[in-house]
Symmetry: C2
Subunit: 418 residues, 2 copies
Amino acid sequence: MKSISFKNFEGYKYIDGGVCAASGFRTSGVYAGIKENPTKKNDLALISSDTLCNAAAVYTQNKVKGAPIIVTRNNLAATGGKAKAVIANSKNANTCNADGEQKAIKMCELAADSLDCKPEEVIVASTGVIGQILPIEPIEKAMPSLVLGLCRSNNDAAATAIMTTDTFPKQVAVEFKIGESTCHLGGMAKGSGMIHPNMATTLNFITTDCAVSTDMLQKALSEVVDVTYNCLSIDGDQSTNDMVALMSSGLAGNKEISSDNEDFKAFKQALYIVMMNLTRMLAKDGEGATKLIECTVSGAIDNKAAKTIAKSVICSSLFKAAVFGEDANWGRILCAIGYADAEFDINKTDVSIGSDYAMIDVCKNGAGIEFSEELAAKALESDEILVKVSVGDGEGKATAWGCDLTYDYVKINGDYRT
Amino acid sequence: MKSISFKNFEGYKYIDGGVCAASGFRTSGVYAGIKENPTKKNDLALISSDTLCNAAAVYTQNKVKGAPIIVTRNNLAATGGKAKAVIANSKNANTCNADGEQKAIKMCELAADSLDCKPEEVIVASTGVIGQILPIEPIEKAMPSLVLGLCRSNNDAAATAIMTTDTFPKQVAVEFKIGESTCHLGGMAKGSGMIHPNMATTLNFITTDCAVSTDMLQKALSEVVDVTYNCLSIDGDQSTNDMVALMSSGLAGNKEISSDNEDFKAFKQALYIVMMNLTRMLAKDGEGATKLIECTVSGAIDNKAAKTIAKSVICSSLFKAAVFGEDANWGRILCAIGYADAEFDINKTDVSIGSDYAMIDVCKNGAGIEFSEELAAKALESDEILVKVSVGDGEGKATAWGCDLTYDYVKINGDYRT
């Protein structure tokens, strides 16, 4: 199974448990048979909180929005940012269907009935094929076993249930301190195609026991999404159904964070660590991917320009194919920098490429320099490729994540519906 | 060898000869050995005009520009839009090299010496790998045989010499009347990766004997590029070296076109026919492509919105992979429409997909409708796939061209430099 290398952050400890790492949350996942499937892979997930949570969410910016997106947004508006549960399915996006919203509301009602809460307190999400009617009966039938599963609270079962073409479940959790209180924050995510910057993201559910007000949850989420998921691209396609939802049970016992203070910064850092690592997992598990690509741009006129340039590099099909071929074809990096919609100084543009094994300087002041192709080839054998670009004397910095373009991307997407 | 289906336009006759179809032009192409190559494929092309031509050009919008782009732009500025020859090489883009401009100027000088014109009257272009020093010696040595080749005036030899990963030379020419004068206009183009809307285009050289002023040549070229090459995408990557150059020898004998009159419209239509068909050839011969995709959008608020939507569809990696798999996965079309940066009415969005064999309605008013998967599969077997999208009641229309995403795209680009 693929995995990523984890970086250390002082004061934060990686722990197990995913969305169950935080106090007050239970999860479950079952095979409901939303689409007939001989392997009986889980396709229905439930996250339940013992308490009514403060909740925040960000959504896809695609103008064609899945019905679950619309229903969830309405629900969070109706409750003023409160939620008690998440219900999510894979295998069907419930998008571009005439009865989509009706079905999404029904999913909320089914969860609410089982969990004794209001339908508006349920976050609903779907992922899978667009434009096929969602069968509600399998979900209805699966509810008892889904709810029963909460007793075992198996975060792996839920993380598996939201997977589509993902090859591994994606979960990260950390433990940290706010004052004297030990807090936990964990998340799960699904990939792995139709992923592109400037959207909210793929399906991601994050839970915490750290007490945070709804407003500050939303602020933290929006800020962190901007430097994590929005800096990710698998294939340039932006899904109709992407969502990140963040729920706080408040059970850690800390004084509720309700302003932009030191506690907020510590909380936001925990959220960043979890979302940044989930982002890297999503990149590494991009459809057909064999390599994670991490591009860091510095020296830009501001962070926005740096982000635009970094994203342009990791979105280049030609560069992505070169990484798959382990070919240090840096000209394609320069080309992608050149068509990025951002200012830079070509005469001060330096590029190095490689991995933890070795970083190779390939371009200095906008022109190629001699380098050892042998050393470069060796460095590019790694499954985590680093690109460092400096584009001038500015203070702007950003990192973007992507993956290589492979035969398997074409294979997976050449006939996804069957 | 791949080819495209040609559409008929009244008053215009397709003819042979490419850039030699127009009176006064001779071409040649030879193997200079710019990069050692056992197959000795031609890599150096020359187009020469008997008269000093009016000339116009458009260039890549990539901020990293190849040295030949800079030199050609300077030359046309110096002469006020006059040119007598084009020299072009493949195998090396002469871009991101410290001595790039010096080498590009040297190429102009070599051509000028041989053809007895001024170096500024030469258009220079290069295509190939970025960031490798261009060896000038092979070009110098090849000049005598290149010039000698003009006597045979072999347009195929020149069209082959500018090819990189193209699988066939791309040439189109038409005959048409301006008043009593019989005019000719023909072009050659190379593809086939690093091609994306919003640039000038790939290397394209177009010649005509129709007498047109430099200003009106530039006007026609800019207008036609906007609805042909700029509506083409192979892989979303925008090259550093793209250029379309248009030269008029004026030998057809018509009264010079110097204003936006009926003659200008007739000339522009000839240019459109040639460039539109070259665009379709470029799409069909996209790297690794097995199918041409043509997406026509109507009902948009204006042509610009229609073009944005059409381009979004043909740029979607997921849809491109589905076309390769001959899978009528129309949800991906809706998704791509949704993330296009243009207004549309989802409730009035209809989609049909197919080919000359059959067009299948798959989506009506933004929701899926039942259709015969069998008929769809049959229609998608064609090597020219049509997508028709209507997005509302507006007058805006546009067509964009692209190709499917295949294993071979990945193969070709995984190790292009070796």
